[in-house]
């Protein structure tokens, strides 16, 4: 029997203008001053080694890429086990293993830049000054088309996350905004009582967009040993298990704030991504799904296009926030 050919995307150049049914589809979206050719990207920490494993012509079709969070100094990460599958999802406690900002700029950034699509550089400082230093280094070296501030990693043994405190959120975002020459995105945590309040704090401080959501704090216990399964004891839950809660948070925040939202949390298919867009997200990020189906981000993009055609929509803006109540 012959090998079944993978379903490949037709080699069209610009996904921002896809022709069909005699009309042009406009998929372009705007984050601050940055124009993206379409609304599909990947979630931080879930995409890597593109140069070795991916067909770069296909990766280029995405609207943007978000590499794993970078800290000022290198971090070796948490002891194993770091991951565990759960019903319709997974726990992770990686602990932001990364080569530090200098190592990232030297070893990882050049290959990412060569792909040729906008990079949202995800950064995390343990203090306000660290955030500022990282931003300054990227500003000097170039290479960041936007900064995504990771205010919400649950795996660092901090008592309280920046994104759990409206004042801290306002302060960090304002400090970065004051020195950044590219759009600033605040990535928020779902582990809060009132997500609207935190999002508003980011808006007040001048954020250009909000990324929602990071993982839910979570844990699993091995009842044989009565130990936590994860080496870090606790971790974060991602994947389809969290999707309905993510959609709800995006909807709640979208009603309150005017800046764009990058929606994520359990997106596996285009159908899932459409929920986020309809709820009010301007962009969607595919995370955990990359581990199950590395083709997921492209399938999401293709599916959005197909949906717009079927529903005779010409502009992605007709879809964003189009929930009927």
């Amino acid at each position: 029997m012959p090998e079944k050919k993978p379903t490949t995307v037709k080699p069209t150049g610009h996904w921002s203008r896809v022709t069909g049914h005699g009309s042009q589809l406009n998929l372009a979206v705007q984050i601050g001053t940055l124009r993206l050719k379409n609304p599909v990207t990947v979630a931080s920490g879930t995409f890597g080694h593109a140069e070795k494993y991916y067909d770069l012509e296909e990766v280029k079709k995405l609207g943007a890429l978000v590499p794993k969070t970078v800290t000022l100094h290198s971090r070796e990460g948490n002891p194993p086990p770091r991951i565990l599958e759960t019903p319709s999802g997974m726990l992770n406690a990686i602990g932001i293993e990364n080569p530090g900002v200098d190592g990232f700029i030297e070893k990882k950034l050049p290959a990412l830049r060569r792909i040729g699509i906008p990079l949202f550089i995800s950064i995390l400082g343990h203090t306000d000054e660290e955030f500022e230093t990282i931003v300054k280094k990227f500003t000097k070296e170039g290479g960041a088309d936007a900064f995504e501030l990771n205010l919400s990693c649950p795996n660092l043994k901090q008592k309280i996350l920046v994104a759990q405190d409206p004042q801290a959120t306002r302060r960090v975002v304002a400090k970065v905004k004051a020195i950044a020459r590219v759009p600033v995105i605040a990535k928020l945590a779902p582990n809060v009582t009132d997500i609207g309040e935190i999002a508003q704090a980011a808006v007040d401080a001048g954020a250009d967009a909000i990324s929602l959501i990071n993982t839910f704090s979570a844990m699993a216990i091995d009842v044989r040993t009565r130990r936590s399964v994860l080496g870090n004891c606790t971790g974060g839950l991602s994947g389809p298990a969290i999707r309905p809660m993510a959609v709800h948070m995006i909807w709640e925040v979208a009603q309150k704030i005017k800046i764009p939202i990058i929606g994520m949390g359990g997106i596996m298919t285009a159908q899932d991504a459409l929920e986020f867009l309809i709820a009010g997200a301007t962009m969607v990020a595919v995370g955990t799904a990359n581990f199950i189906n590395p083709r997921a981000p492209l399938e999401v993009l293709e599916g959005i296009v197909e949906y717009m055609r079927k529903n005779k929509m010409n502009d992605i803006k007709d879809l964003i926030g189009s929930l009927k109540i």
Binding site: E3, E58, M90, N92, N293
Partner: protein, 257 residues
Amino acid sequence: MHKIQNKFPIAANERLCPRFYRLAVDAKSILKSIRPGQFLHIRVTDGLEPFFRRPFSVYRAKKFVEILYEPIGLGTRLLAEKKPGEFLDILGPLGNHFTAPPKGTKQVWMVAGGIGLAPFLFLSDELKHKGYELILFYGGRSKGHVFPMKEFKNNGVKTWIATDDGSIGVKGWVSELFRTLDPNPTTTMVYTCGPHAMLASVQSFVKARGLRCEASCEEVMACALGACLGCSIPTVNGYKTVCYDGPVFDIAEVVFS
């Protein structure tokens, strides 16, 4: 988006002995480049349960790409139900591979525990007719984990077997088979694969005798592409991913806890 993600038809899926199955896929694109020690990451269901793909070493790569597996949980049980003609979503080849025995090697040891046997048929396919004496030390739980191993013997491999319960071969761990031997470190190369407890005992054996040894390690995997950093194990040079930096490591480098 992926160079190495494909759907391949199953050519065979059969039981070799009470505990082990062999599955073959018609995957010419993998055949071309796969090396012994590399693995495949297989999606065993279109649904969400189990959620992750499952990694499997390549057992043989001749006409088909084959894996050897033991149904121990949901993923491997679902695999055992697959029929020839069905398609499997596979990422591969992945990871690094065993390196060739260094110059001067006369004797090659393959030390395998349980399903850790899988990569060694492929390795012996590559090493046969090269003048090495090939020896397999295999430890299984009981005789249900042992099959005739004709294919190994056809490659000229001498096989030594131990079982935990002594139902076949020597009673005890695989290390019982070579505990008292004292091979020449300049002419012997050791390859090993199995549970980490077994690898740890091989590590102390080869260290005491100054033997060169490569180990294929295991850890739970999500992406298997080096992206999630979920499969890291401690080494003397810090954490390394089993899927991308490994699965094959110089055994002296790995820290078994």
